[in-house]
């Protein structure tokens, strides 16, 4: 049991981070505002969680311009995908 719990990733303990990773698993890229609407969060709240995941190199931000407006979109990294899958597997083993 202790072994399985060790496989759970501490970074995904927060539901918000879990949500961000889930969304990026099934979408090529998602911009900040869409993410905000999906998770029903405020700017500051989402930004802090995104920063945390970025510093772990689980997600990556891409800055671009849509017309004149700056727009940041996010993609999942290979490391992020792998970590999330391991976390998912650990969750599934735990509830079996």
């Amino acid at each position: 049991m202790a072994n399985i719990i060790a496989n759970l990733n501490k970074a995904f303990e927060s539901r918000i981070r879990l949500g961000i990773m889930s969304i990026l698993m099934v979408n090529e890229s998602i911009d900040f505002n869409t993410m905000k609407e999906l998770l029903e969060l405020t700017d500051g709240n989402l930004a802090s969680h995104i920063k945390a995941l970025e510093s772990l190199e689980y997600i990556q931000s891409i800055k671009q311009f849509v017309g004149r407006k700056p727009n940041t979109k996010y993609i999942i990294t290979n490391l992020g995908r792998q970590s999330f899958q391991e976390h998912l597997k650990a969750l599934e083993t735990l509830i079996k």
Partner: protein, 194 residues
């Protein structure tokens, strides 16, 4: 244990919500089915039965009215469902859904109009059913699973209509009328009444 289960639920929900068009309402299907049936009835009793000179044009107009009413109610019920769950109706997923639905649908629509104008309307029932079915199968990966099976049903009915061309109107009524009402009711019960 509770937390893990809840976590998995959140994961599943966010994956679906961010990649699928879930505002589609079963009521749209029911209204579309009823409108299509009335449209067919009008065509059967007044256009074919009445020996009208411009029958082909009237048939296209009849079909267009059915389409406009169905789409209008479709948009209205989706808008209502989206508002209920605090979602915006038009986002990237909605646009992706519409795009993937339109390509086979417009192709089939234009093809049918060309055939009618050329006076070769024998295969029109089959073609509209087949292209509509293909459009649904194509779009089903962005929405509820039921749409996939509705699409397959329409394709099979279309093939049957191509074989039994004289009964085209029967297959058309089953496909666009009855199937919409049945699938609409199933989806309304399963997803809207929650």
């Amino acid at each position: 244990m509770e937390k893990q289960l809840e976590d998995l639920k959140v994961i599943r929900e966010m994956m679906e919500k961010s990649s699928k068009f879930l505002s589609l309402s079963g009521l749209s299907g029911i209204v579309a089915g009823i409108t299509a049936t009335l449209g067919v009835a009008y065509a059967y009793f007044f256009i074919f039965g009445g020996h009208i000179a411009a029958a082909n044009i009237l048939m296209i107009i009849d079909a267009c009215i059915v389409l406009i009413i169905s789409v209008t109610f479709g948009v209205y019920f989706s808008w209502r469902k989206a508002r209920k769950s605090n979602q915006k109706l038009f986002n990237k997923v909605t646009l992706k859904t519409i795009y993937n639905l339109s390509i086979p649908l417009l192709t089939g629509g234009i093809f049918s109009i060309i055939l009618i104008l050329r006076g070769e309307s024998e295969m029109v029932a089959a073609i509209t059913l087949i292209f509509y079915g293909l459009a649904l199968v194509n779009v089903s990966k962005f929405t509820f699973d039921e749409i996939h099976y509705l699409g397959i049903t329409e394709i099979l009915l279309g093939i049957a209509a191509a074989i039994f061309t004289h009964n085209g109107i029967i297959f058309w009524t089953i496909g666009f009328g009855i199937c919409h009402i049945i699938y609409g009711s199933i989806m309304y019960k399963k997803y809207d009444l929650k």
